[in-house]
């Protein structure tokens, strides 16, 4: 099983509608991606909390179907 970049983007956008997302497929196997996610919802949150928000958006797929997601999060200033 694997995930596609659009699927990942949809999951994240559903939880973080304002998110600006860039996803790169690292290995071409649907299992290893890097992603940068910018959202105003990250404001005031630690890096760990920001990443936890993205993992929560992925509804349990992270670490299971999706083996690796090298994540960089930034705060979107509006």
């Amino acid at each position: 099983m694997a995930m596609t970049a659009p699927e990942i983007e949809t999951f994240i956008k559903t939880a973080l509608p304002d998110a600006v997302i860039e996803i790169k497929d690292l290995a071409g196997d649907g299992n290893h991606y890097s992603a940068t996610v910018a959202s105003a919802a990250f404001k005031g949150k630690s890096r760990v909390q920001q990443h936890q928000m993205v993992y929560a958006a992925l509804k349990g797929n992270m670490g299971g179907v999706l083996h690796a997601l090298a994540l960089t999060t930034t705060i979107l200033e509006n």
Binding site: V48, H51, M62, G63, G64, A70
Partner: protein, 107 residues
């Protein structure tokens, strides 16, 4: 707290620096775990490695313990710092070295 949580809790609180990883420090079995070991070795930080592949209860328990879905996981003085990408980000910015100093980790 379940006994696996107690076991994890005790481990992270009785060692200054703990890295839950796939494999061990001599033989990492995942690129992200390997990279995390290199970062700590580069900083010269002594740490306890815990091979989650050796014990399924720890492998699942550690993910529940911090509500963090992947391994490796770094703990400094009992506090969860992050996974491989946060470690790399903090290492490159110098934050990780600063954190060790702030927490009084002997290097």
């Amino acid at each position: 707290m379940t006994d696996i949580h107690t076991q994890i809790d005790t481990t992270v609180k009785s060692n200054d620096v703990v890295l839950f990883m796939k494999g061990n420090v001599d033989m990492p079995q995942c690129g992200f775990s390997g990279r995390s070991v290199q970062i700590l070795q580069h900083l010269g930080v002594p740490f306890k490695d815990v091979n989650v592949l050796a014990d399924d209860a720890i492998r699942q328990g550690i993910k529940d313990y911090t509500n963090w879905p992947t391994v490796p996981q770094l703990y400094v003085k009992g506090e969860f710092v992050g996974g491989a990408d946060i470690m790399m980000e903090m290492f490159q910015s110098g934050e990780l070295k600063q954190l060790m100093a702030d927490k009084g980790v002997v290097v």
